[in-house]
Symmetry: C2
């Protein structure tokens, strides 16, 4: 992947772009919003700090035109909020004609499916493969107008292509730069291990007043109390039940915390306890905007498709449904209408077995 | 009402008992919990401070035995949490044989109905009348081991007896001491104007983490933000729709705030705005216990019966239902099972018109 497109100039996109540039790639950076790239364009790139490579990372193109950005790139790394995936797929579809590999970092839930379905709807002959990472590989932040800092690189990151028979190709392409990516069984596994669906909307909604008051508090440490944890555990149990019904392996949220961050004790009885043991969560401040992406992205792009996957599998998801309804009430929105429903994904009426074949081998849906 | 029983030795019961004692009544005070009355018994009464009568108020009886407390009393003032009404009705039923007048201060929603039904179920020949006040007449607090302070006396307080044909009798008995009580049309009016159902459970649930963390914050001023207000307005609209379906007059929450507390401007577009204008709410601290009565009393005793009244009237109450479900998740309880459902009130399957006749004139339910 010598010439690579990085779509999204937020914390994640800038970190990935800078790392690849410092690793010898020619990076073409895109962001939809001129304000997001203005100062980076002036600098010609960004300074990368932190625990990975460091130094000034030049970008060979910095543009608000996605078609320009992907020109000549075999690899396209998407590092935008999930609600942008649909539009990107539609805009890029006519230009996806040479087997481009597209990786969503991350897909949230059903990102690869939505991208694939939209691009194919616009351009049925499109030739590409889309994959989704289970999460963002970095803990990172923009630390200056043209500066970004990587605080932590995750040791392992599950990734799956759609169909899963093509996962290995995508991994091989990423390997020289990102050996951390490992194969998940399929995109249902990555989509169902979306732990953001547990940790983002519910604590934000149950702390909405202090978030709206711009109170400074630690999101995980102070925001997830035993009472909040009671709700998180129910949502997590629903997610795990859906994964089981799909026959993909998953972890409980508590197991995931132990796995990803390591845990001094593995005997946590509750998500509350497990979170309190994760020093990695210490110091993470809550958002100061009640419309933050913890709700406005993770309700439509994580909870809605998880609950919809519940419908396909016949697994009830009353707690997820309740939190979606609560977000709708609090934000006066209809996050189902703008979220990843089965209808929007092109999966309404699809049977469990047909969906499993589709994500495994690409067998067209009936 | 020379000899009067006051049931409940909390803020409200002590204030009412002390005021009546200082007004020349012989007061018999009851509380179920020995700890609640121990120091009052040692003192022989309480010192009343504040804006009403002041001085040492002697109680002629201080007991944990409710049967003792009501002996020889024509008037029984109940000033307990609403979840105690049922048990009090059951315990007192055999002794309600001389037309005693019982006033619930307040009834929350359906308090008089529940008291009436339970007492009659235990003792079909019981002779009494039960009334409910729409709220507590005082803003008051226990300010010492045997001291209570009244900060504010409400100018007007709606009250209705069950049946409404007997409201006037109860008002006449109260009048020498409490001329503030005025007749509501019936107990549906007082029950449906339960503004605690709006202001108590929802803000507490949407601030549950900081309440559990014992953070000091102003419950109304900081706890009700525009986002929280969005939910309150939906619940209030459901309550008003139920009242309309019953044909009883009511007020919106915003009108109520203007009516009860007076308002510098009457043009509030939201409950948030209306609350911010109420100086009376300034300084009221949030509870520091996530299981506080704002949830544990007001969900089963206010929201549950309001939603159940919705069922009788055919008015949907999805937002109330959602908050009940959320409280159940957060507290790991089943507040419907322990709440004032139609079944528990003896009203399952009752028709709207029959209930209206019952509360108006006492016409037995079919």
């Amino acid at each position: 992947m010598n010439r690579v497109a990085v779509l999204g100039a937020g914390n994640g996109g800038l970190s990935i772009g800078a790392f690849l540039s410092l690793s010898g790639c020619s990076v073409q950076l895109f962001d939809k919003f001129p304000a997001a790239i203005e100062q980076i364009r002036e600098a010609g790139g960004v300074t990368l700090k932190g625990v990975s490579r460091t130094g000034f990372a030049k970008f060979d193109m910095i543009t608000t035109n996605v078609v320009e950005a992907i020109e000549g790139c075999r690899m396209i790394l998407v590092v935008t909020p999930a609600f942008a995936h649909r539009e990107l797929a539609e805009t890029m579809a006519p230009y996806l004609d040479r087997g481009q590999k597209i990786v969503l970092n991350p897909g949230r839930t059903a990102g690869a499916i939505e991208f694939h379905m939209r691009a194919k709807a616009i351009n049925p002959k499109a030739d590409f493969v889309v994959a989704e990472a289970q999460s963002l590989i970095y803990a990172c932040r923009k630390t200056g107008p043209a500066e970004v800092t990587i605080f932590k690189v995750k040791n392992e990151m599950a990734l799956a292509a759609l169909p899963a028979t093509r996962t290995e190709e995508v991994l091989q392409e990423l390997k020289p730069f990102y050996p951390q990516f490992i194969a998940a069984e399929n995109v249902l596994e990555t989509s169902l291990l979306n732990i953001g669906a547990i940790f983002h909307p519910t604590p934000a909604l149950l702390n909405i007043a202090r978030i709206e008051n711009k109170e400074l508090f630690e999101y995980y440490m102070d925001g997830i109390t035993p009472c909040v944890s009671n709700v998180l555990e129910r949502i997590d149990a629903e997610r795990v039940a859906v994964a089981k019904a799909f026959g993909v392996k998953t972890m409980t949220c508590i197991e995931w915390l132990e796995d990803v961050y390591g845990s001094p004790h593995t005997d946590s009885d509750s998500i509350y306890e497990a979170v309190q043991k994760q020093d990695g969560y210490r110091g993470i401040e809550a958002p100061q905007n009640p419309f933050a992406r913890y709700i406005s992205e993770d309700v439509p792009m994580s909870l809605v498709p998880l609950a919809e996957f519940g419908r396909i599998t016949g697994v009830p998801t009353p707690t997820m449904n309740l939190m979606i309804d609560l977000a709708n009430l609090i934000h006066q929105k209809d996050y189902r209408a703008e979220g990843r429903t089965l209808a929007r994904l092109g999966l309404e009426g699809v049977f469990l077995d047909d969906l499993k074949k589709f994500v495994a081998t690409g067998t067209p849906l009936p």
